[in-house]
């Protein structure tokens, strides 16, 4: 035992110390995470940004925020442009994975200028469990 201790040089002790810190930090974070996580299913908020005009279409930036504690798989978002209670155009967006407490961004494209319609509605249609 004594012999083995002597074999280690200062550099190896530094690597050991850094390694120990990394391992302990990872384990403590995971333990903290495990203690605070709930079973809450995905709870997805859809936020729309200002529409932008592109050369061939109009795009609406979409931000998806999962407030739940489970990952949502294949999140399907629908955006509808309405004028006078009538649907003008409908767009869709799919996000492959939306991990818990995470944010993902994307765009929905339209031929109609979203700034000319009365209402733009966005909602999540559905998602799976990974």
């Amino acid at each position: 035992m004594k012999k083995n201790k002597l074999e280690k040089n200062w550099f190896e002790w530094i690597v050991f110390a850094v390694g120990l810190m990394l391992v302990l930090a990872t384990l403590s974070y995971l333990a903290y995470d495990a203690a605070t996580i709930t079973d809450a299913p995905p709870s997805i908020e859809v936020r729309m940004g200002e529409p932008l005009q592109r050369p061939h279409n109009f795009i609406v930036p979409i931000t998806l925020i999962n407030h739940g504690d489970q990952t949502a798989d294949g999140v399907l978002v629908e955006v509808v442009l309405e004028s006078g209670g009538e649907e003008k155009e409908r767009g869709e967006l799919t996000v492959a994975f939306l991990p818990r407490r995470s944010t993902r961004e994307g765009w929905v494209a339209f031929q109609t200028d979203p700034r000319t319609v009365e209402r733009t509605k966005a909602r999540v249609l559905g998602y799976g469990k990974p």
């Binding site: 083995n4 690597v15 990394l22 990872t26 995971l30 333990a31 995470s102």
Partner: protein, 289 residues
């Protein structure tokens, strides 16, 4: 005291080994996904299981000939640390982790990838160039890995427990590369029972052939007695290890969730082929030669 240059050389070998063995996993989507969808308790269990495996591997096949448990624990931590670091750097380079992600997603992905890297670091440190240590560097303390692996009663007869641990490591290293992929589920659920039976028989036969050839070449096997019986016992143990490892890895990656029993068994047998190769042939690579 070991010279710094020698430590650096060992760490470099570790880093190369870590990358070499974990590269397929670093490039696998399903592993990244598992990083954020796995429950943190699962991840803790995964870290502890890997640590136990590292302890076993370092004890039986590790770098230090005269390893006692303190040294083995220190070595294992020294492999896990770089494992986490290499995994984080690799994932950042591949654009799989970024500052726009939540901490839980980053930690999950890094941790899940780091475990295979850590085993690779361990194997790399012990094996890559380890055999020429003495002549290579001229350092007196660098015992050839050959003698370290042979922690049994006689130089040619590796301890049964040691063989078991090395077989486990081999099975994990090989099976982990394919386990998280969607392909295992597809093959497992589309194969007929006859196919699965054939895969199982081929796996056992492959295990037997490999064990037999190792037996031939190096007079090492699971059973103390030599001959046909030893090969049979050896193959059964190898296949048992392979199936256990397969089932555990599949369970970890959530492949058993909501599946019918036959699909779970199918997946285990399909993955068992890779695990058998690792547990039998992998031993040749992991164990200093």
């Amino acid at each position: 005291m070991r010279p710094i240059a020698k430590s650096l050389q060992e760490y470099s070998r570790g880093i190369i080994g870590g990358l070499l063995f974990s590269l397929p996993l670093l490039y696998t989507m399903e592993v990244w996904w598992a990083g954020f969808s796995a429950h943190p308790l699962h991840l803790i269990f995964y870290v502890l299981a890997t640590f136990a495996l590292l302890l076993g591997y370092n004890f039986y096949a590790g770098l230090r000939h005269d390893a006692n448990w303190t040294e083995v624990v220190i070595d294992s931590v020294e492999e896990m640390g770089p494992g986490l670091l290499i995994s984080a750097i690799a994932l950042a380079l591949l654009g799989r982790i970024g500052l726009d992600m939540t901490l839980s997603e980053i930690v999950g992905k890094v941790t899940i990838e780091a475990m295979t890297v850590a085993i690779g670091v361990s194997v790399g440190t012990a094996q890559l160039g380890g055999a020429n240590d003495g002549s290579d560097t001229g350092e007196g303390d660098g015992q050839p890995a050959k003698t370290r692996a042979a922690k049994g009663d006689s130089p040619n007869d590796v301890h049964f427990g040691g063989q078991l641990v090395i077989a486990l490591c081999g099975a994990v290293l090989f099976a982990a590369n394919v386990a998280p992929t969607e392909e295992i589920v597809v093959i497992g659920s589309e194969s007929s029972s006859w196919n699965l039976l054939a895969i199982a028989i081929i796996s056992i036969m492959l295990g037997a052939i490999i064990l037999f050839s190792i037996d031939f070449k190096r007079a090492q096997s699971f059973a103390p007695a030599k001959g046909a019986m030893a090969v049979v016992i050896g193959s059964v143990i190898t296949y048992a290890i392979a199936l256990t490892v397969s089932a555990m890895i599949l369970w970890f990656f959530g492949r058993f969730d909501g599946q019918a029993l036959i699909i779970c068994i199918g997946q285990t047998i399909v993955l068992g082929l890779a695990a058998t190769l690792g547990a039998s042939a992998g031993r040749l690579l992991l164990q200093a030669g």
